[in-house]
């Protein structure tokens, strides 16, 4: 499978004169691990949101195997892990309920990510960022997921947890032949994790 962004243009409403992305192209194949690097404020997160279908580009296409991403129904094959996990879980739902929305999660995933069964009984505000992030990764690794976009996924975690999560995720990506797009400001991390690095000018 291949996920492609072709000549993407994007600007926020009313700011046509100052586009966030102009003529951006990117491709990501199954099993590939691509790093994405750019100075702050150059639209890395926006590009991820477009690639995951959270937002439509103003110009250009997002194609999955040559078909527009918006044509896919049901669980989106492109999932995203955000920098701030607390924004992507409903604060009023117990984590178990949030997790169940996407269908049952394999116990293997839960174990590998050190998610304790007790967490599922809790509300998001009762877990730390690191714990929530493991949770969001488990959810994003839905059986239908083919591509995973990691937007500064471990930027707010300590080094030991970072290493733990990446160790697991790289293994999982190899096993399932996932395509990974890794956004990070850490060159050392990109070098360690990615097969190639693209810079967003």
């Amino acid at each position: 499978m291949i996920l492609e962004a072709r000549d993407i243009w994007f600007y926020y409403p009313g700011r046509k004169h100052a586009p966030v992305l102009r003529d951006v192209a990117l491709s990501l194949c199954s099993g590939e691990r691509v790093g994405l690097k750019a100075p702050s404020g150059r639209g890395k997160t926006t590009l991820c949101r477009l690639l995951a279908g959270y937002e439509r580009p103003r110009g250009g296409d997002i194609l999955l195997n040559g078909r527009p991403l918006s044509a896919y129904r049901g669980v989106c094959p492109v999932q995203m892990v955000w920098q701030h996990p607390e924004t992507v879980v409903d604060p009023l739902l117990r984590l178990g309920a949030t997790l169940a929305e996407a269908g049952p999660i394999e116990t293997r995933l839960m174990d590998a990510l050190h998610i304790q069964a007790g967490w599922l009984e809790r509300y998001p505000a009762e877990l730390s960022g690191g714990e929530l992030q493991r949770f969001c990764i488990a959810r994003a690794l839905h059986p239908a997921t083919r591509f995973l976009l990691c937007d500064e996924m471990t930027a707010m975690l300590d080094l030991v947890t970072q290493a733990q999560i990446w160790d697991f995720l790289l293994e999982e990506a190899r096993r399932r032949d996932l395509g990974l797009l890794v956004v990070s400001h850490s060159d050392a991390l990109l070098e360690r994790v990615c097969s190639r690095v693209q810079t967003l000018a």
């Binding site: 702050s40 707010m156 300590d158 080094l159 947890t161 733990q164 160790d167 400001h185 050392a188």
Partner: protein, 313 residues
Amino acid sequence: MPPILEIRDLSIHFVQYERGFRRRRLPVIRDLSLTIQPGQVVAVVGASGSGKSLLAHGILDLLPYNGQMEGSILYQGEPLSPRRAEQLRGDEIVLIPQGVTYLDPLMKVGDQIRRGRKDPDSRARCTAALQRYGVGPEVEALYPFELSGGMARRVLIASAVVDRPKLIITDEPTPGLDAKAAGRILGHLRELAEEGAGVLLVTHDLELALTIAHRVTVFYAGETIEEAAAQDFSSSAGLRHPFTRALWRAMPQHGFHPLSGAQPYPGTVDTGCPFAGQCSRCRPDCVQTQRIPLRPWRGGAVRCLFPEEEASS
């Protein structure tokens, strides 16, 4: 000359509601001690959610109303009472907060930095402070939403240092910034220290902390487990606590070695070493000893019963 800030055996806990009406005491920081000399940058490094931000808020007496603090905080040799903290904060002690949302969205940048003062002297200092961080005077007339993330962060710093503070507390000053922008911000902090201020840098990012800090205090499960000089981190052997070494080995450039298990919640481990569950060298003594004290060790301090073994490996 007394240290700018001296914290002795500080503990912070919360009273929180569980389901319904039950309440519980939630310890977040236990027995924290640290000292900041003038001109020094001291980093406090810990996992996210380990209560680091509360430390910053605790010093300034800005804890949420259900937070309670024990222990002593000395500012320039004298106890920092809530009243004194209130008088000093914003002038001599400043906080550079984590989020750019701390800027008042309805107030122009210039007015926020000047805190409402309109005299020519304040204006000049405000412009100079912004200038110093590469922000032009035209920005003074903008509202915070018109700034980019990096610009807003520089405005926050300018607004903190405009009155020449003696103690600067920063809470995660660089998240989401690229390495270059982050380096610039940290450079500014280092510069402020060189001018004689004390800087307390609270962060989870050890790599960034090491680029500017003189001393590093490492947090684990709400406890200080090691206090070390920054140069001790140049090799694994210079470190004292097994967790600090694990941190070092987990850096992408030092092998990216994961450590199995997870940090326990602060306050859930009553007896023994909180790191026992993840430590490869854990011995029966480590679990049975009541409280392991933080003791001086090779020019730093460590909370471990058997640090010497680590030194030879």
